[in-house]
């Protein structure tokens, strides 16, 4: 099963939830943690994994063979991203704009365009104790995280419980990471910012057809903003983590909740059981 951990608003506790969930489950099932927040990957700070493998993430960008090129300009015409410009005697390729779709090389009438990989990030794999670990890292200055996310996801171990830590927001990197996961955990906080962005995140996962549940972090007694919304929308609230200085302190030194306060492991196992329960229910309904 693949569980994604997303949020809408940043800094609500995705990393705390993803790492604690992984640590709480490691003795009961095979667990893999994949950090898909490739712009700012943080899970490694908490799990301190041993990295055993590094793979460069490259996107294929066009390379022009000037012995064949006639400067007809077809490549520039077919490029939807304006990544190629043809001027007399030269073809200018703007690597940073290229999405690597391959249209220019395929459609060049002279067969003058080949592709070469341009490195824009790295995917690292290893393990933290028995937890299998994968993370992507976008190179600083690069704009497009999605190819790195795709490469991370290609390493999902389908025989394990895979937990994906997702970047904040609702745009393409979030969609890329959450797509094709079985369940999405949405982590929020009980503030108007948290609620506003949670609603956007719910719309996103619904559009992708993925069931979701909510974890409320920094919960304050009597502040029922998020609960009321979830009740209206029939979204289960799977866990509440209180606003607590000690939890914040543990986080600040890179200690997961499951490690610093082991009594929380039972709560995370319970979250997992409720997810698997919901998934069984869903597949039973689907079979009927």
């Amino acid at each position: 099963m693949i569980i994604s951990v997303a949020s809408g608003k940043g800094g609500t506790g995705k990393t705390l939830v993803a790492t604690s969930l992984a640590l709480s489950l490691k003795d009961t099932c095979r667990v893999q943690l994949l950090d898909c927040d490739v712009e700012e990957p943080n899970d490694h700070l908490f799990l301190r994994p041993v990295i055993t493998d590094r793979e460069a993430v490259c996107i294929p960008v066009p390379k022009v063979d000037y012995t064949k090129c006639t400067f007809c300009g077809e490549c520039a015409r077919v490029c939807a991203y304006k990544a190629i410009a043809v001027v007399p005697g030269s073809v200018l390729v703007f690597d940073q704009l290229c999405h690597g779709c391959g249209a220019c090389s395929y459609l060049c009438p002279e067969g003058a365009i080949s592709e070469e990989g341009r490195e824009m990030g790295v995917v690292e794999s290893g393990h933290a104790d028995v937890i299998k670990f994968v993370q992507g890292r976008l190179t600083v200055g690069e704009a497009m995280p999605t190819p790195v996310i795709r490469t991370v996801k290609a390493r999902i171990d389908h025989t394990a419980t895979a937990i994906l830590d997702v970047s904040p927001g609702t745009s393409c990197p979030v969609v890329e990471a959450v797509r094709d996961t079985d369940y999405c955990l949405l982590v929020t906080e009980p503030t108007p910012f948290g609620l506003h962005d949670l609603k956007l995140a719910v719309e996103t996962v619904r559009q992708l057809g993925i069931p979701c549940g909510v974890i409320i972090n920094r919960a304050v007694p009597g502040e029922n903003l998020v609960q009321n919304y979830c009740a209206r929308e029939k979204i289960p609230v799977l866990l509440e983590i209180p606003l607590d200085r000690e939890i914040a302190r543990l986080y600040s030194i890179g200690k997961t909740l499951a490690e610093g306060m082991p009594e929380w492991q039972a709560s995370f196992k319970d979250v997992y059981n409720r997810i698997t329960g919901a998934m069984h229910e869903r597949s039973r309904c689907a079979q009927r």
């Binding site: 949020s7 809408g8 608003k9 940043g10 800094g11 609500t12 990393t15 712009e39 700012e40 943080n42 700070l45 908490f46 077919v78 939807a80 991203y81 999405h99 690597g100 779709c101 391959g102 249209a103 395929y106 459609l107 976008l138 600083v140 200055g141 690069e142 704009a143 497009m144 995280p145 970047s167 904040p168 927001g169 609702t170 745009s171 393409c172 990197p173 979030v174 969609v175 797509r179 906080e189 503030t191 108007p192 910012f193 506003h196 962005d197 956007l200 719309e203 996103t204 559009q207 992708l208 200085r245 914040a248 302190r249 986080y251 600040s252 030194i253 890179g254």
Partner: protein
């Protein structure tokens, strides 16, 4: 006219709360919310919408079932796995148009995407340019560029002297789009291991795009040891720490009331943000 953009790398460090306070403290400015896929600044500024425009950007492929012969060439050539069983998944389609060009029976058309909306609003603190990217849409960088362009236009037309921009988290395309060409980036961090890690990466982006950066440490007293690590790191890298804001529960109260903290009370965090703005406006030579 000067433009300051508030960024952080890590999400949830307090960008919007701080930008909201700057909105209340700065004079003669235009406000811009460049966090277009999870915009929150409007929750503090209570805007009255003056203009609402559609943002059309990019294209998606559509396959006409009646013309399609099911040859599968499009599916084979699409690098984004956006075509499965001869159906286009619009959330995967990157709009490259490769399939449209190679379809032997011309069964594929490209249609423009309504990728979001952008707004110009009036607030008690001055005009606000903001936007909402459509759910699961691409091109957030282009929408950010549009928001900034509109903010600049407004500022030039009405002789505003400053633009204050609330930026998105991360280091990717919307961040680059918020940052490039700005006069100053204020990087809001927190004294945690992840805060420091993410700060280093966003400093890298500022360097790459040659935008001067200053740092503000929010909730510095949650871990003073980590806070002094950040100060050391900044000192070693020639970056000024312009403010240190203490942990203060009234920050959340202000958000709940929907007002900038500096208008909510004069508590410890509120005073620290006022001090931060005083330091900033010198750099920024406005007011």
């Amino acid at each position: 006219m000067k433009e300051v953009v508030v960024l952080s790398g890590k999400g949830g460090t307090g960008k919007t709360s701080i930008a909201g306070c700057f909105a209340a403290l700065a004079r003669n400015k235009v406000l811009a919310d460049c966090d277009v896929d999870a915009a929150d600044l409007h929750l503090l500024l209570q805007p009255k919408y003056r203009r609402n425009e559609e943002f059309w950007s990019g294209q998606s492929a559509y396959i006409d079932d009646k013309t399609c012969t099911g040859c599968g060439l499009c599916e084979e050539l699409c690098r984004f796995n956006a075509i499965r069983n001869l159906k286009v998944d619009p959330t995967s389609c990157e709009g490259c148009g490769f399939c449209y060009r190679i379809c032997p029976v011309e069964a594929i058309t490209m249609r423009d995407n309504l990728a979001g909306h952008w707004f110009i609003s009036d607030t008690r603190y001055g005009p606000l340019v903001h936007a909402r990217l459509g759910i699961a849409q691409e091109n957030s960088g282009k929408l950010v560029a549009l928001v900034r362009q509109q903010a600049r236009k407004l500022a030039e037309e009405a002789d505003y002297t400053a633009i204050i921009t609330d930026g998105p988290p991360g280091i990717g395309c919307p961040v680059i789009s918020s940052l490039s060409g700005a006069d100053l980036a204020l990087l809001v961090t927190e004294p945690t291991l992840s805060g420091i890690h993410d700060l280093e990466r966003v400093i890298g982006v500022c360097r790459h795009f040659k935008v001067p950066a200053s740092v503000c440490i929010n909730k510095y007293d949650i871990n003073e040891e980590k806070a002094s690590e950040i100060k050391q790191y900044c000192a070693n890298n020639g970056i000024k720490v312009e403010g240190e804001i203490p942990f203060d529960t009234s920050v959340n109260q202000a958000v709940t009331r929907g007002v900038p903290l500096v208008e909510h009370n004069d508590g410890p965090a509120s005073r620290a943000i006022k001090q931060l703005w005083d330091n900033m406006k010198v750099l920024f030579s406005t007011n």
